[in-house]
């Protein structure tokens, strides 16, 4: 048995390639229609920021869907977190720690994360240990959170645009810092590559030719540098995008390189086999939904900071965007498969459609119709390719 075969790898990852091609096609079409404006550094910059909040939710949703569940409460949970954080920003920190905007912002982040974690754990317990289907639990959760949002806001808009806090969702990194980060990432990619090769040698595997590995790493390096170059031409890397990137890397690492992640995929692939393999199904389910709650907390904090206020409509419909992103990104609705990376690209496609259609002054009604069509079309293409395989 040899260790790898490229053709096979390609076929396994066909879904990833399809959505990347889809993304390029969409960008190409918009670039032509808008006479290049679509690819301006300002627009690309906005695009990535727009996808941020949905992407936090989509990253968690992948694992939820992988274990065969669904979470309909994520949008409202992020919204609830955003209004809670707004209340703390406007009413509470100013009384306890006036004139300390940075500390206040830090505490707001913690409050936001804890709020998401708490509600996530509450739902997770009901789903995992009381065995209520996740669809129903989180549908109920959505109602509860809606009430919670009304209760917290009293129906009014709460300003969350204090300096310090606003930086989380709105600030740009200085261009120099941007380049330093980019250089760091590229260096890290190469270090990891060489370390991986060394370990492979240690375990006695035959190595792929080094140019293959270098090409692969170089490809990602170019993407990173290109992104930094483009956004630096506008105002620099946005803080929320940086937070998103770090989150995606961490969650993606968890999903593929830890027992927790591996058990999630096994559980979704075959619950009974997983159980007989000694996996604690309840605990695993519980933890996946807890992680989802935590990511909703993060999404909610970024949301509050980005829009600058908490409102009763905060986060409405985000759960559908998150689910659509996962599905676009190849997550199976039956459980067992899906990648975080795919879901983020899915979220990018949804955001790309949004901004593109807005730039073309397409009516909102038609925008919804087109987004729906692209979602279904992408899945049709995918089903077709899987069959012909």
């Amino acid at each position: 048995m040899n260790i790898s075969s490229l053709g096979k790898r390609f076929r396994e990852n066909i879904q990833t390639y399809i959505i990347i091609i889809l993304l390029i096609v969409i960008w190409g079409v918009f670039a032509v229609v808008t006479e290049g404006n679509y690819l301006s550094s300002q627009n690309i910059s906005n695009l990535f920021r727009q996808m941020a909040v949905t992407s936090f939710l989509a990253a968690g949703m992948v694992l939820v869907m992988v274990i065969g569940g669904i979470d309909l409460s994520v949008g409202k949970l992020a919204g609830f977190v955003s209004v809670v954080v707004a209340v703390f920003q406007r009413d509470i920190w100013v009384k306890i720690i006036p004139d300390q905007p940075i500390l206040a912002a830090g505490l707001s982040v913690i409050v936001g994360l804890l709020t998401g974690l708490a509600f996530g754990s509450f739902q997770a317990y009901i789903i995992a240990y009381l065995r209520v289907p996740s669809f129903i639990t989180t549908l109920g959760g959505q109602f509860i959170l809606n009430g919670g949002i009304l209760l917290v806001t009293q129906g009014k808009t709460i300003a969350a645009n204090q300096p310090g806090f606003s930086a989380i969702g709105q600030a740009y990194l200085p261009t120099n810092t941007g380049w330093i980060i980019a250089a760091g990432v590229v260096a890290l990619l190469f270090v990891l590559m060489f370390r991986d090769r060394r370990t492979k040698v240690k375990y006695g595997f035959t190595l792929k030719p080094i140019y293959q590995d270098i090409l692969k790493v170089a490809f990602f390096a170019v993407l990173v540098l290109l992104y930094v170059y483009v956004v630096n031409k506008f105002k620099g890397i946005q803080v929320p995008v940086l937070i998103l990137a770090m989150t995606v890397i961490v969650v993606s690492y968890i999903s593929t390189n830890t027992r927790f992640g591996r058990y999630a995929y096994a559980l979704g692939g075959n619950r009974e086999a997983a159980r007989l393999s000694g996996i604690n199904i309840k605990k695993q389910t519980f933890l996946v939904f807890v992680l989802m709650g935590l990511l909703c907390g993060l999404g909610g904090v970024v949301l509050a900071s980005y829009v600058g206020y908490g409102t009763i409509s905060a986060g409405g419909g985000y759960e559908l965007d998150a689910i659509a992103s996962c599905v676009l990104g190849g997550t199976s609705t039956l459980g067992g498969s899906g990648t975080i990376f795919g879901a983020v690209v899915g979220a990018l496609i949804m955001a790309s459609l949004n901004t593109g259609l807005q730039m073309m002054n397409v009516s909102p009604a038609l925008q919804y119709v087109l987004r729906g069509l692209v979602l279904v079309l992408a899945v049709i293409i995918d089903v077709y390719f899987k069959k012909s395989n």
């Binding site: 048995m1 040899n2 260790i3 790898s4 075969s5 096979k8 790898r9 396994e12 370990t199 492979k200 240690k202 375990y203 006695g204 595997f205 390189n257 830890t258 027992r259 591996r262 058990y263 995929y265 096994a266 692939g269 075959n270 009974e272 086999a273 997983a274 159980r275 007989l276 393999s277 000694g278 996996i279 604690n280 067992g336 498969s337």
Partner: protein, 510 residues
């Protein structure tokens, strides 16, 4: 054409890749009789029934089936056709919709309507008529879920009768029934006979054959051994017909020298966790180091329930002890069982053994990730090295470790399942029907592997439905019947006849 013959099988042959399931089968079923059909597991009974129900449509098999004077031609993808012809099958696994009423189930798929709206009154009045006619103690409005297994079966029968079934096939109808329910079923079959309905009664419970059938056909290895009047048979003769064949060179020579007793199960009782029914009613046996202990028993004898209970994943133990190396075990999950040194290769590899969409690598390492993982990280290199090593030892044939297991053959899938459970280094390996559904060559490899494992001091408990396999591979054989251990035979004193005697309960009632 004899007017008395309703079904006439003429030289029916059905083969699958590697197996001939039915080999030139010819026999006749008379109008209005209760015709018993028996044979070991895998003798071809189910295949025959699948031909009658159209699962294997006309043209999918060789030979002819003459039904009521003309050839039976069932088209592919027409499930309803058999029942329209008047042939109805009551399956082992019940096929009712649990949440619906008896009436709804009986008329499912052919609800009477008036201008597009269902006429519920008619459904329930006609259901009542059928139930009354055959004196079935069920109400049309009962929800099926709330009925006992026995009544569910009666509902199935009522459903068949409502479709004007002339031939009713019952596939192991009593496997889940209590004694009283069996008696009730026998009465109903008697009534059906008076109404002129022909019955084919599939079972391997000999006592029932003698109690109810007029004639019996015995199948063995896909061939008809005999068709005889039941009154001319006795249980010894019948068992001989069912098993009587010579042993071929199917089993590799092992070089086993079993050592001291290391594993003991003493008077184990356990309850079904969902239904609360006792499934194990006193099981006692022991296992020596480096030994293969065969567990024989018919379907429903509690074999699988026994090993799943030992593995901590099934019954709730109500009495008895399980000891490994003299130390009493208290196992309530597969995780604990593995830590104690007990592994189990499950019966249904696709449902319980494998995550089909995942790679060989991930399947093998799944129960063993603790060996490679810290809290933060799974060492994927070590994982690959170890998994590759064991997959090589077991000669899993695949292009590489990353192909999904669903693309492998049955034999190779089984090797992956065994690899997965061997990596943890068990002292006791339980194998539940380890060669089910795999071809002869792969079976041989699995047998060789079992011999090697025992030479390395691993003790194996092997459940098997194939008596030859039990006799060919075991050092001793423990026979189960109705949740009890009926005794352990040394291989030198074990014969197919003796095992069947114990397993069918012919010997144990005395």
């Amino acid at each position: 054409m004899d007017e008395n013959i309703i079904l006439d099988f003429q030289h029916v042959t059905k083969s699958f890749p590697g197996v001939v399931a039915l080999d030139d089968v010819s026999f006749q079923v008379r109008r209005g009789e209760i015709h018993g059909l028996c044979g070991e597991n895998g003798a071809g009974k189910s295949t025959l029934m699948k031909i009658l129900s159209g699962v294997y449509p006309y043209g999918d098999y060789e030979g002819k089936v003459i039904y009521d004077g003309r050839e039976l031609v069932l088209k592919a993808s027409s499930i309803k056709q058999a029942s329209e012809e008047g042939i109805a099958i009551v399956y082992q696994e019940l096929t009712l919709v649990p949440g619906m009423t008896v009436g709804e189930n009986i008329f499912l798929g052919r609800e009477p309507t008036e201008m597009g709206s269902i006429t519920w009154d008619r459904i329930y009045s006609e259901t009542q008529k059928i139930l009354d006619e055959y004196k079935l103690d069920i109400q049309p409005q009962d929800i099926v879920r709330n009925l006992g297994v026995g009544k569910m079966q009666m509902t199935e029968i009522a459903k068949a009768l409502s479709e004007n079934a002339r031939v009713l096939i019952l596939d192991e109808p009593t496997s889940a029934l209590s004694e009283a329910e069996v008696t009730r079923l026998m009465e109903i079959l008697g009534t059906l006979k008076q109404h002129g309905v022909t019955c084919i009664y599939i079972t391997h419970k000999l006592e029932e054959l003698f109690r109810i059938t007029d004639r019996v056909t015995v199948l063995r290895d896909g061939k008809v051994v005999t068709t005889q009047d039941t009154k001319d048979l006795n249980s010894e003769k019948l068992i001989q017909h069912m098993v009587g064949r010579e042993m071929k060179e199917r089993f590799p020579q092992g070089n086993r020298k079993p050592g001291e007793v290391i594993f003991e199960v003493d008077d184990l009782w356990a309850k079904d966790p969902d239904k609360g029914r006792e499934v194990l009613k006193g099981v006692t046996f022991n296992l020596r180091e480096g030994e293969i202990l065969g567990i024989a028993g018919l379907m429903g004898s509690g074999r699988t329930e026994l090993v799943m209970t030992i593995f901590g994943e099934y019954g709730k133990v109500t009495r008895g002890t399980v000891k490994l190396n003299g130390r009493e075990l208290d196992i309530s999950s597969s995780h604990q069982a593995m830590e104690a040194g007990i592994s189990l290769v499950p019966e249904d590899r696709k449902r319980h053994g494998l995550v089909l969409i995942q790679s060989i690598l991930k399947n093998i390492s799944l129960p063993n990730l603790d060996r490679f993982a810290s809290f933060l990280r799974v060492d994927q290199h070590a994982e690959l090295v170890e998994s590759l090593k064991i997959a090589k030892e077991l000669a899993v044939k695949a292009p590489n470790m990353f192909v999904p297991v669903e693309s492998l053959s049955g034999g190779n899938q089984q090797k992956v399942v065994i690899s997965k459970w061997l990596m943890s280094g068990p002292k006791v390996l339980i194998m539940d029907d380890p060669t089910r559904g795999i071809d002869v060559g792969a079976k041989y490899e699995i047998y060789k592997l079992m011999n090697e494992l025992t030479e390395h001091g691993i003790s194996i408990i092997m459940i098997s439905s194939d008596l030859q396999e039990v006799l060919g591979m075991s050092d001793r054989v423990m026979v189960m019947c109705q949740g009890r251990s009926r005794g352990t035979l040394e291989i030198t004193e074990a014969t197919q006849e003796r095992i069947m005697m114990l397993a069918t309960g012919m010997a144990c009632e005395q």
